[in-house]
């Protein structure tokens, strides 16, 4: 850790009285403040670390520096408008957030989207998973000193973002998956662009493996670091790659298939040690499996509608609005008031790139979600972070934070 790193306003924090420390240790401990502005905390996470020499004896995560009030804002907007807020929670995987929210609204409405929309959603969500893992790989590698990996990963991510831009016109915050289907049909060149990517990416993935997997420096910095046992990971609510690296084969796509995932054949990579290196390998292998799913979904992509056939949920076409009175009324009603799902509550769990992303929606029968809550996987992972780093050296904190792949926009919401 550099001495000249920016320090947020210091906060005096004594070691608690309950700590079982001998007199000498107590005198020698030092409290340092890591974050909220720190290049390696992947956002505005703040950690209050109590050190004995270079060993961390206590870590206290402090979050909320990106608290955005998304849940409160969503309760003041219609179901249709709240969709754009979900993009901005886990900003590395906006389409996965869209998918989770759309599934929740569809469950509340009691509709199911046509098969073409389901297949397209699977392709988009898996592309987004690869894009998110690429950012994770690049940024966690640059934290451990491997700058070239960062440049390579962002090179491949641009290809995926170009595909999203082709579909929706936006690189990141697409809102392309919406309640009731997709915003528009997949463009004509979508299939070719994705297949080009499928042909290109495996060789690039091998390149990353060559750079890191057997690299002595990488292995020494990651193996045996930031360990968490399976029992702890379950007790602390970890999910996704963090849980699977500890040896628990829990993937929502397999355990509770949603949105058509039951149609596809893929494996769940599972680690055994629960350390940084296993989490790295699990995510790398997940990208392989995502490619498998994308290939199957592209091959089986059906023709037909990409939205539900109900203009009370999805807006009618522009050409219909100018010719059809009923379509005009639907358009007006949808954009001014929105639809009113029946009263009730649903909780939909999906597998986002970070872990189990749940959306809880409570409806009172009105046009706005009465309660919109997101179960963010990173929120639980931040909570489990002290387990991984207490007792470790301070240099390993960066490796552990990188490996749990937190996104503070999702933690703080």
């Amino acid at each position: 850790m550099q001495l000249d790193e920016p320090q947020a306003p210091q906060q005096v924090l004594q070691v608690e009285e309950s700590e079982q420390l001998d007199e000498r240790t107590r005198r020698d401990t030092m409290t340092i403040n890591m974050g909220p502005q720190h290049p390696s905390t992947h956002g505005v996470l703040r950690l209050i670390l109590t050190l004995d020499g270079e060993t961390i004896i206590k870590a206290l995560p402090d979050i909320g520096y990106l608290h955005t009030g998304i849940e409160k804002t969503g309760e003041g907007k219609s179901y249709f408008q709240t969709l754009v807020l979900t993009d901005r929670m886990d900003y590395l995987a906006p389409l996965c957030n869209n998918l989770a929210y759309s599934l929740a609204v569809e469950k509340l409405l009691g509709v199911e989207v046509p098969p073409r929309a389901q297949y397209a959603r699977v392709v988009l969500a898996e592309l987004q998973r690869i894009a998110s893992h690429l950012v994770w790989l690049g940024s966690s590698a640059i934290d451990l000193g491997a700058q070239s990996v960062f440049l390579y990963c962002f090179r491949e991510r641009e290809i995926i973002l170009d595909i999203f831009e082709l579909c929706s016109g936006v690189r990141m915050m697409t809102s392309y998956i919406m309640p009731g289907g997709l915003q528009a049909d997949l463009p004509a060149s979508f299939d070719k662009r994705v297949r080009d990517f499928l042909a290109l990416f495996p060789s690039r993935l091998r390149e990353y493996h060559t750079l890191l997997t057997n690299n002595r420096l990488w292995v020494d910095r990651t193996k045996g670091i930031g360990k968490i046992s399976a029992a702890d990971a379950i007790a602390y609510g970890c999910s996704g790659a963090v849980l699977r690296a500890s040896g628990v084969a829990y993937d929502v796509r397999k355990a509770f298939p949603y949105g058509g995932y039951e149609r596809f054949d893929f494996d769940i990579p599972v680690g055994s040690n629960g350390d940084v290196y296993d989490r790295y390998l699990v995510r790398m292998l997940e990208m392989d499996q995502s490619l498998r799913i994308i290939r199957q979904a592209l091959d089986g992509m059906p023709e037909g509608r990409w939205q539900v056939d109900d203009n009370k949920i999805v807006p009618p076409h522009k050409y219909e609005i100018s010719s059809n009175m009923e379509a005009l009324i639907h358009h007006f009603k949808l954009y001014t008031e929105g639809y009113r799902p029946p009263a009730g509550e649903v909780y939909v769990r999906t597998e986002s790139p970070k872990g189990e992303l749940g959306v809880y929606l409570a409806s009172d029968g009105g046009p706005k979600p009465y309660r919109f809550h997101v179960r963010a996987p990173s929120f639980a992972h931040v909570q489990a972070l002290p387990l991984m780093i207490e007792g470790a050296l301070i240099a390993d904190v960066v490796a552990a934070i990188g490996s749990i792949d937190i996104v503070l926009g999702e933690v703080d919401r």
């Binding site: 550099q2 000249d4 790193e5 920016p6 947020a8 306003p9 909220p36 502005q37 720190h38 290049p39 956002g43 505005v44 909320g64 520096y65 990106l66 608290h67 955005t68 009030g69 998304i70 409160k72 804002t73 754009v84 807020l85 901005r88 900003y91 590395l92 950012v135 940024s139 960062f150 440049l151 962002f154 090179r155 991510r157 641009e158 690189r171 990141m172 915050m173 503070l408 926009g409 703080d412």
Partner: protein
């Protein structure tokens, strides 16, 4: 500056803006006016060289807050390559930086930290507000988000978009370089205007 901030005598206006300095009020050097050192030929030339070197090597402090930070990382990666304009050296320490790219939404809890980092940067320094949230609060008009970082630090360039694409950020950087070349001053410090202070702000 001609900004009337004294509302003690009158009945308080409930709709008075929280931000007292608008962008329209930003003092700008009119075209053709000379910088103050214009009388001294040698110093003028030295200043030109200084400005040229300043605008050609803007070192940003890495202040990534939210979504826009990812696009800022993209801008520094190989495809967009912000180093063509001399601004690729993202410094972790504000002491080594002269540009702050505020990338993302600023929460009320984070605002003092932003100000603290800004105060640690040596003069001359510039601020780019990247994205809708940093510029005006964006879609998040709620209790938690500061409605524009120009309430906390003086902002030189606003880059619109949610998030702005990397080329938009690079265009904003070019505009800032143009601004430095023309010796346009930064807007007044919002905290100095409103008489507020944050914990840890110097002066």
């Amino acid at each position: 500056m001609g900004i009337d901030n004294d509302t003690t005598e009158r009945r308080p206006n409930p709709w008075a803006p929280v931000q007292y300095v608008t962008n329209a009020q930003t003092p700008r050097a009119p075209r053709g006016t000379q910088p103050p050192e214009a009388g001294n030929i040698i110093l003028t030339q030295v200043n030109k060289v200084l400005d040229w070197s300043r605008r050609s090597s803007l070192w940003p402090v890495s202040f990534g807050l939210a979504c826009c930070a990812i696009e800022m990382m993209s801008a520094s990666a190989s495809r967009w390559d912000i180093s063509r304009f001399g601004a690729e050296v993202f410094r972790a320490s504000p002491r080594q930086a002269d540009l702050m790219i505020v990338a993302g939404r600023l929460s009320v809890k984070m605002a003092p930290v932003l100000r603290h980092i800004y105060d640690q940067m040596p003069d001359p320094k510039w601020v780019i507000a990247m994205g809708a949230c940093a510029s005006c609060g964006g879609v998040f008009n709620n209790y938690a988000i500061v409605q524009g970082v120009d309430k906390v630090v003086p902002v030189d360039i606003f880059v619109p978009g949610c998030p702005p694409t990397p080329d938009m950020l690079i265009y904003g950087l070019n505009q800032l370089q143009e601004k430095i070349a023309r010796r346009m001053p930064s807007p007044p410090d919002p905290l100095a205007v409103t008489g507020q202070t944050y914990l840890g702000s110097e002066g």
